[in-house]
């Protein structure tokens, strides 16, 4: 079977850091958010007390800032140095959303309801673009509010203390939004829907079969084919070992995510 290279190793490595630090942040942060929950004391003791949970939370936060910044540096490097600013921001390769994505949402919803054919997607679908930009929004909101709460005395020198109240609300609600989204919608869209179940390993192996590309991303397939670039992206199939390890890692992340989701739901609704 022929495979095509879909994701650059750099992005795949960042995604692993992202998944690990995100699970760490959620698990170490939720005992505080849901301190009233019956599981809160147990979970915080897993980290060796609230100071231990705080340490894990901060280490994971630093990892988050790390992957966030390295991604931005990579994007700037890629556009400026590799492509010499010859990059179409709204082109087929770009993850920047455009009018086309609004149309795709509309057509996809119509397809869901049986009112038309499924839309033909390009390199990035609208839900992938949403996931991508949601991280910018999320890391921005959670990061800034988290730093404020991490160094209150520093920020308190020039900002009124009630920004800590606001930071707490934003940090806490944004965390619920991010974890609730990742552990349900992101997991479903990428791994759990019938076409992908139980795990889509492309985020780890970076490779997608040509068949899948033609079927799921027809516009991208056509673009590569017409531009005679398809051979350039062709690559041998990932090794069985690689797929197995990726699958196990991804599956473990999904299982941990589901477990945390159950705790979040009990904390949110049964208090």
């Amino acid at each position: 079977m022929t495979f095509v290279q879909r994701l650059h190793p750099f992005h795949r490595i960042l995604h692993v850091f992202m998944a690990l630090s995100f699970l760490g942040l959620v698990a170490s942060g939720m005992p505080l958010k849901y301190s009233h929950a019956p599981w809160a004391e147990w979970l915080v003791r897993l980290f060796g007390g609230y100071e231990g949970a705080g340490l894990v939370h901060r280490v994971c936060a630093v990892v988050t800032f790390g992957y966030f910044l390295s991604h931005i540096i990579y994007v700037v490097y890629d556009i400026a140095i590799v492509r010499h600013f010859k990059f179409d921001i709204f082109g087929p390769e770009s993850i920047v959303p455009g009018i086309r994505d609004i149309e795709d949402i509309y057509h996809n919803l119509k397809w869901f309801l049986g009112e038309g054919p499924a839309p033909r997607f390009g390199r990035w679908t609208y839900w992938e673009k949403f996931d991508y930009w949601a991280v910018f929004w999320g890391v921005g909101m959670i990061g800034v509010s988290g730093l404020t709460l991490w160094f209150p005395e520093f920020f308190g020198q020039f900002l009124p203390g009630w920004i800590f109240n606001i930071a707490t609300i934003i940090h806490s609600d944004e965390a619920l939004l991010a974890s609730g989204f990742i552990f349900t919608i992101h997991f479903f869209n990428t791994h759990l829907r019938p076409e992908k179940f139980p795990m889509d390993t492309v985020i780890f192996t970076g490779k997608m079969s040509l068949e899948e590309l033609r079927h799921e991303r027809p516009l991208e397939y056509r673009r590569l084919k017409e531009g005679d670039a398809l051979e350039q992206y062709e690559t041998p199939a990932p090794s069985v070992m690689f797929i197995l390890v990726s699958g196990l890692f991804g599956f473990a992340a999904v299982v941990i995510g589901f477990f945390l989701l159950i705790l979040i739901i009990t904390g949110q609704f049964f208090s």
Binding site: P160, W162, F164, D173
Partner: protein, 333 residues
């Protein structure tokens, strides 16, 4: 049968109880003999017969407690041990058990003669129930009872908002020593479990402040069982809690910076740092408009994102499954 059984138990109990009373009254020494000396004013260990008979133990003869006095005149006698009646399982016994665990009880056990015994608080002979206004342990009199030993604490308490309410306005709803130090249980003040328990004690009256405290980092960490963050008394003070409006209060604008800096909590706190709301309620638009609008924005964001994507996911799952089933049928054909 159940009813009959209970009646039998009650009758038997009454019989046993009466028998004990009768037997303790039996010794050759009659109570009137005691009054012949101790009933005279000016005599050592004077007991006012009328007052005694109106007190909670008034029905008991002297020798019910003074077991070691069997004849008179008598020599030196030992202090009455209340446990002879108030033992575990009997009336009031849990209190005795609490007392033994208390800082007072433990001090007594190691022979500290300054530690109070039962009699030091409840009195000796003329003892009334705590709910009786004549008792030294009556709610309004508790601070002066404790002040017999703890003078400095009393002096602070007297000037506090609780002290003024109780001592000057005789309002029994105000917190007394017992509400925080837990009557007989009186734990050591550096005991971690008590520090956490104390927050709940304050919350019994200050419900709203308690609920808003629980929304902050301080309140959440203490709820998880850790005491290194701000608890009620760390900011408001212990004995001399003053009204927030009082300029002398630890949380008044003049003092709050130092209060936040104290205990090595926020050594670099500034005036603007202290504009933190330690008891904010984000749903109160009138008092905390900024928090309210941020909270509303976040809620709307969550509802919109989850609303749209859950719908999207459910419809997608439905469509994908339908397609699969259709394809499955075609494959079979």
């Amino acid at each position: 049968m159940d009813k009959l059984g209970r009646v039998i138990i009650q009758v038997v109990s009454i019989l046993i109880y009466s028998a004990v009373l009768f037997l303790t009254a039996l010794p050759s020494l009659a109570t009137d003999d005691c009054y012949s000396c101790h009933g005279r004013k000016g005599m050592p260990f004077y007991v006012d017969k009328t007052l005694y008979e109106g007190s909670v133990h008034g029905k008991f003869p002297c020798t019910a407690c003074h077991l070691d006095i069997v004849k008179y005149p008598h020599g030196k006698t030992s202090r009455v041990d209340c446990i002879i009646c108030h033992f575990t399982g009997n009336q009031g016994a849990p209190r005795v058990r609490d007392f033994r665990l208390s800082v007072h009880g433990k001090a007594l056990a190691v022979g500290n003669t300054a530690a109070p015994t039962c009699q030091d608080c409840h009195g000796s002979h003329i003892i009334y129930l705590a709910r009786d206004d004549r008792s030294d342990t009556a709610r309004l009199k508790i601070p002066s009872l404790c002040s017999r030993c703890h003078l400095k604490e009393y002096d602070d308490y007297r000037r506090s908002i609780h002290g003024k309410m109780l001592l000057e306005r005789h309002d029994a709803r105000a917190a007394t020593c017992f509400d925080c130090h837990m009557e007989h249980l009186i734990p050591k003040t550096d005991e971690e479990t008590w520090k956490l328990e104390l927050i709940k004690q304050c919350g019994r009256c200050h419900t709203e402040q308690m609920n808003t405290y629980r929304k902050t980092f301080h309140g959440k960490v203490t709820r998880l069982g850790y005491t290194t963050v701000a608890k009620c008394q760390d900011c408001h003070g212990a004995h001399m809690v003053l009204a927030i409006k009082d300029p002398g209060s630890t949380v008044s604008p003049a003092n709050i910076v130092n209060t936040c800096r104290s205990g090595n909590c926020h050594p670099k706190a500034t005036t603007s740092f202290t504009k933190f709301y330690a008891h904010a309620e984000e749903s109160n638009r009138a008092r905390y408009p900024m928090l309210y609008y941020v909270y509303m924005f976040m809620t709307a964001l969550l509802v919109c994102v989850f609303g749209f994507f859950f719908m999207h996911t459910f419809l997608w799952a439905y469509r994908s499954l339908r397609e699969r089933m259709k394809r499955g049928k075609e494959d079979l054909r």
